[in-house]
């Protein structure tokens, strides 16, 4: 385990996580179209997840193999979910 790598400011990341969480909760009360609100809330959630993954899990500083192991299942899950849309969402 290397000690030379640059260490992110964990507390600063936490502050951003809290800010984004509050933003997400507030966003859910916005008087816009439901799908727009849902989209915004999920974008905020994705940003929080990215912060945790990149800085707390140190994904930003890891090798490409580790990065691939993190990304591929996420892509698969998103793909599999969308594959079900024709049958279950865009009705028969």
């Amino acid at each position: 385990m290397t000690t030379e790598r640059a260490r992110p400011n964990y507390v600063a990341v936490w502050v951003w996580l809290v800010v984004l969480m509050i933003a997400g909760v507030l966003a859910s009360y916005l008087p816009f179209a439901k799908s727009a609100v849902i989209f915004l809330v999920f974008v905020i959630a994705a940003m929080k997840a990215l912060l945790v993954a990149l800085y707390y899990m140190h994904l930003k500083f890891e090798s490409r193999l580790i990065y691939a192991m993190a990304i591929v299942p996420v892509v698969l899950v998103i793909g599999l979910t969308f594959l079900l849309f024709p049958d279950l969402v865009f009705h028969h």
């Binding site: 936490w14 969480m21 909760v25 859910s28 899990m57 193999l65 580790i66």
Partner: protein
């Protein structure tokens, strides 16, 4: 400093780290499957997600804050290992365990008030999803707490083999990320 285990590995990455990421990849498929099913079911039918109005957003928001903070204390524990600070390691592991237990306590309070109001896993589709997803997540939190507690006990004997803190941290952050998606999915939409 590279450990012997890392130099012997073909990838020059600590083998334990590769192992944990493999495991996390399978966990992504597990929770991803549940989340995907929820999204597809919700978009495919209408109305049943209105049940979410019976959930308490403030309580869950506090729980989200608890889990986010526990992620920070967990990574600070790992930072303490890198700095060679045994006292810091014990303090941060202890805080992480404490925050994890707080999360479960708040979740238990939520469940009991929801059941008391008549909402059980068989009340309807939304509640089946809710209890399954948050229940499975809570079990994962429990497993993480036990692991971190074990590391805390080991830490009292010094800093050897504490690269495990980094590996346990990866699992704990993943559990946090799952909740980061569950919270808006179930409570905010």
């Amino acid at each position: 400093m590279e450990t012997t285990a890392a130099t012997r590995a073909v990838t020059h990455i600590l083998p334990g780290k590769v192992g944990v990421w493999w495991f996390l990849a399978s966990e992504v498929m597990l929770f991803g499957g549940l989340i995907g099913s929820f999204i597809v079911s919700r978009l495919g039918s209408s109305g049943w997600s209105g049940e979410a109005a019976h959930l308490s957003v403030p309580v869950a928001a506090i729980n989200t804050l608890v889990l986010l903070t526990s992620s920070m204390t967990m990574v600070m524990a790992f930072g303490a290992v890198e700095k060679g600070d045994p006292r810091g390691l014990r303090t941060y592991l202890f805080l992480t365990v404490l925050l994890g237990l707080t999360f479960l306590g708040i979740k238990a309070y939520e469940y009991s008030s929801e059941v008391a109001a008549g909402f059980t896993p068989v009340t309807g589709l939304f509640w089946s999803f809710y209890y399954t997803m948050t229940g499975l997540h809570a079990l994962h939190v429990l497993a993480g707490i036990i692991t971190n507690l074990a590391l805390f006990v080991m830490a009292r004997r010094g800093l050897r083999n504490q690269h495990r803190v980094e590996l346990a941290g990866l699992y704990w952050h993943f559990v946090d990320i799952v909740w980061i998606f569950l919270f808006p999915l179930l409570y905010l939409t």
